[in-house]
Amino acid sequence: MEFFERFAVPHPSPAIYASMVAIVVVSLAIVVGLTYFKKWGYLWREWLTTVDHKKIGIMYLISAILMLFRGGADAIMMRAQLSMPENQLLDAQHYNEIFTTHGVVMIIFMAMPFIFAFMNIVVPLQIGARDVAFPRLNAISFWLFFFGAMLFNISFVVGGSPDAGWTSYFPLAGTEFSESVGTNYYMIAIQISGIGSLMTGINMITTILKMRAPGMSLMKMPMFTWATFMACVIIIFAFPVLTIALLMGTTDRLFATNFFTSTNGGMDMLWANFFWVWGHPEVYILILPAFGLYSEIISTFSGRNLYGYKSMVGSMVIISLLSFLVWTHHFFTMGQGALTNSIFSISTMAIAVPTGVKIFNWLLTMWKGKIRFTVPMLYSVGFIPLFTIGGVTGVMLAMSAADYQYHNTMFLVAHFHNTIIPGVVFAMLAGLHYYWPKMFGFMLNERIGKWAFWFLSIGFVLAFFPMYITGLDGQARRMYTYSEATGFGPLNFVAFIGAGLMTIAFCIIVYNILYSIKNSPRNVGDDPWNARTLEWATHNPVPEYNFARTPHVASSEALWDVKKNGHELFKGDIEKIHMPNNSGVPFIMGVIFFIAGFSFVFALWVPAVIALIGIFACMVLRSFEKDDGRYISVEEIKATESTYGGANS
């Protein structure tokens, strides 16, 4: 029994026991369901072993939506706890665990896979490629992310959740103050999915640099491809810093080294610096692809080409550079001195300039356009004013002297949610509606989608704008309760109502998906939005080879050229197409990584070593494997093309 005691949750509650039961029931239901409907083979052949960028993208998308609800459950519990003064719903320990997992899940396991979903689905189509440069590596990236997320998510029923904040500052996150294995989960789960992110970065950069269709020079790439490219460049430079920081944090916790301790020469501020040298670029990794999606959507639904293409690209390059020069602004109050703080104040405010350029470009794209207020466009139009408010409060926070007032208050919480929700989440939802027909061949219902948009926007304003006020009045973040005398009660109750409206909005979106699966007409054609870029020049849903013939591109709006200038996109005859083979190894590697990670979390060295050997065995196996892929014959392509009504055949 002693062996099993280490897996017990140190601070249990009825809710956690209920979750355990729920997890077991749901897992059983999935296993029974798959067996009953004889879907195991289908699941393995079509999804678990796939190397198709579109299917991998869809798996990212499903994971992201699941994690959105996981992180959302944390959020609604936090707002419920704070809705009234001296509320007893949660105790301090549970509140700590919840705000920690909320942050990690939303950034690492919701926002990241969401952008990877669109990168995977859209980028090869936008540049006219058959797949990404390394399809097998792409599958490994996904499974590392997935099993990293699973490892993180079992923490609350096996061994206890991390509770040192999503930033996990040392010495709080050290073994002295965080005794449970929770922070081990944090270090190792993020490490595993971080390796996946890094490999996605390498994959996308190579794809974009080497696999563009004939005629597509760098400055003719659609804006989302540019945004993906810049985000991946940031990934290459930022994620290794996180890798090392997490490695050091892990050895501090597991092997009692002295990187971040307060004794024997350790330096706790080293963690804070490393974390934010990764952490600040990370938020630009999220926002740049979001900007890219807005650019595509605003241009499409305004019926005009994107205003200021070159300045859009230039501003992204400048944002990427500046993103590495501002990390200290996350801890102005932690003792750098006036000169350092001033420098980082200025570099932080400088980011507002290229971002402002982009805002004006979007406004000028819409100027005099015939705007169609579809759901994706509504999100994009809602984004502009809401995100601008978030940007302005960001400049307020950037003033280091004033930051002593704002630091670690609800004002900060309001600010970053104000940038991430209208910035990233709105973009992801806009992209979800916009690219849904691309992925599945039917549209999401517009009317239900608009309801969700209004619930989400109003809910967002109600949930976060009151926090600006309570924050300025001094309500600290990460405090599980407050006294009635503070007067924070009514505004926090408003925030709770807002969070409730947002919950309803997300439920409406899921309802919309289910409703549209059942009721939406199929056969929407290849170009349901009257779009402008290359991804809409192939069929919906996209055949596995993407384009029957390689497109020849003449501008950044390849499809618009076809429609307005009579440009001939597809020339020549159909030829056989080379495709990569499926493989089960990426999935198996993910499982082994999960076992290795779990063993490290609990310091079970024997299984950890065995699992590491298993990982190397997979790599050696891959080295010796001779897999030159397969060819799709001309007859097969022609047969597939004719099922789509022959628009491009």
Binding site: I205, T206, L209, I236, I244, N264, G265, S623, F624, K626
Partner: protein, 198 residues
């Protein structure tokens, strides 16, 4: 697979070109990885707590042997790639073998060096300085160890299949990796050992 004969064999197919570019980007990430380790080391260099300082534990002879052995291995893998380009399989295998033996020699001396640190009281847990030192050296050493296994599997494949677009591509990428480890070692030698001993 179409092979383009105007290019060296390792660049011969489109996928080969992708592999090489992708690996260069990976090396970019590796540079960031080691840059972070060096940053940590420079910050921790004098944070020795109750433990020994750098000048007290560094010894010049094992470090010189390691440097000499590893730099030589970088030369021999260059020769291996040259042999590959002129299609001399036996010479290529011989030079790859010598490279790996030199790598093994490097690793043995490094293990000896780590044991020395342990005996003079500079363990992983001793201080911020020793943690940063041993993590930086250890990460490099782990890369060399991985390289030994990687190189071995490439030798087997070249011996079995000969020099073709596939094995040439693998060997070339492995040589990039090996040169990179050498470059990192030059920085370790200069900025950890020499700086620490002066």
């Amino acid at each position: 697979m179409k092979i383009d004969h105007t290019q060296p064999l390792e660049y011969g197919t489109h996928q080969n070109q992708l592999n090489i570019l992708g690996f260069w980007i990976f090396l970019g990430a590796e540079i960031m990885l080691f840059a972070t380790l060096f940053t940590a080391y420079f910050i921790m260099e004098h944070r020795t707590g109750n433990g020994p300082t750098g000048p007290e534990i560094f010894e010049i002879s094992p470090v010189l042997i390691e440097t000499f052995v590893l730099l030589t291995s970088s030369f021999t893998i260059g020769l291996a790639v040259h042999a590959m380009r002129i299609g001399r399989k036996k010479a290529m295998l011989a030079f790859l073998g010598i490279t790996l033996l030199l790598g093994l020699g490097f690793l043995s001396v490094e293990i000896f060096e780590f044991m020395h640190y342990y005996h003079v009281g500079a363990t992983y847990q001793t201080s911020g300085f020793t943690a940063a030192l041993l993590t930086t050296l250890g990460t490099h050493g782990a890369h060399v160890t991985l390289g030994l296994f990687w190189g071995l599997s490439i030798i087997i494949q070249v011996a079995k299949d000969g020099i073709n677009a596939r094995t040439a591509n693998k060997s070339f990428i492995f040589s990039l990796y090996w040169h990179f480890l050498d470059v990192v070692w030059i920085f370790i030698f200069s900025f950890i050992y020499l700086k620490g001993m002066m």
